[in-house]
């Protein structure tokens, strides 16, 4: 993926296929301490889709897992996790079957391997136009 807006599109497409009626995307930039090189971007994606059981949750970040029948790899979540960890950031995924899934990624913005944000509004626009039946809530506190 070239930029973060494409990762977001990819993850939200997962939410759509999990039967979500509402997906929340939040971006927040925080400066840790006084050093401006410690800007951290917090990405949160939360849906009310089908969720996963505990066993699936343990393996969902593996690139060699897919929920689709006959498909033996699934790269979307593992690529976002990689993008976050490459910046010395963090990645967490939590899910409850029948309730939904929540992803939290922390990306260190000044790290040389930090990807550009990309066109996030285009991602949100495309999602809304292709799935008007789903409520998308976008919250950007990153001033970018």
């Amino acid at each position: 993926m070239e930029d973060l807006s494409l990762h977001i599109l990819d993850i939200v497409e997962n939410s759509i296929r999990a039967g979500s009626s509402r997906v929340e995307v939040s971006l927040e930039k925080k400066t840790e301490g006084k050093n401006p090189t410690e800007n951290i971007l917090y990405l949160n994606i939360k849906d009310n889709g089908s969720g996963m059981d505990e066993n699936t949750l343990k393996i969902v970040s593996s690139p060699f897992y897919s929920s689709k029948e006959g498909k033996y790899f699934g790269l979307g979540i593992s690529l976002l996790k990689q993008a976050a960890l490459e910046t010395n950031g963090d990645f967490k995924i939590d899910s409850k079957e029948g309730i939904g899934t929540e992803i939290n990624a922390e990306l260190k913005m000044e790290h040389p391997d930090m990807k550009p944000l990309g066109d996030i509004m285009l991602t949100i626009k495309m999602l809304r136009l292709s799935h008007p039946e789903i409520e998308f809530v976008y919250d950007n506190e990153s001033n970018s």
């Binding site: 993926m1 494409l6 497409e13 689709k68 690529l79 809304r128 292709s130 799935h131 976008y138 506190e141």
Partner: protein
């Protein structure tokens, strides 16, 4: 910037008014494949190109949506065009130029653009 549900509703209404999506009877359906493989190879730009064509055409009877990976990752970006009463056709290795041709010839005039088509039918995977 904080967008609230009511703001999104307004944006949605404005966009729907400008693109005429999902109104009308649904004579044709455009489905862009938006799996990880598709997105990584430019499916979002392909989607935008279709929407631009749709908006320019002013047509109200064309349904637009997305789906996941079709299991043909090396052929991405892909889209499926379905004209009412006919088999769906899969288009592969799409570019903005191909989108324009496919929209004008297949979506608008019902003529399959064979040089960009992989085949007829629906995938089972995904």
């Amino acid at each position: 910037m904080k967008l609230k549900p009511e703001d999104l509703k307004k944006i949605s209404e404005k966009m729907e008014a400008s693109t005429n999506l999902r109104s009308g009877a649904g004579r044709a359906k455009i489905t862009v494949h938006m799996g990880t493989c598709g997105i990584a190879t430019g499916a979002r730009d392909i989607m935008k190109a279709f929407l631009d064509e749709l908006e320019a055409s002013g047509k109200k009877d064309i349904i637009f949506t997305t789906t996941g990976c079709a299991g043909l990752c090396s052929h991405e970006p892909m889209a499926t065009i379905e004209i009412k009463g006919e088999s769906p056709v899969k288009y592969v290795h799409l570019t903005k130029g191909k989108v324009k041709t496919i929209f004008e010839e297949h979506v608008m005039n019902g003529k399959i653009v064979e040089e960009s088509a992989l085949g007829r039918g629906s995938e089972r995977v995904g």
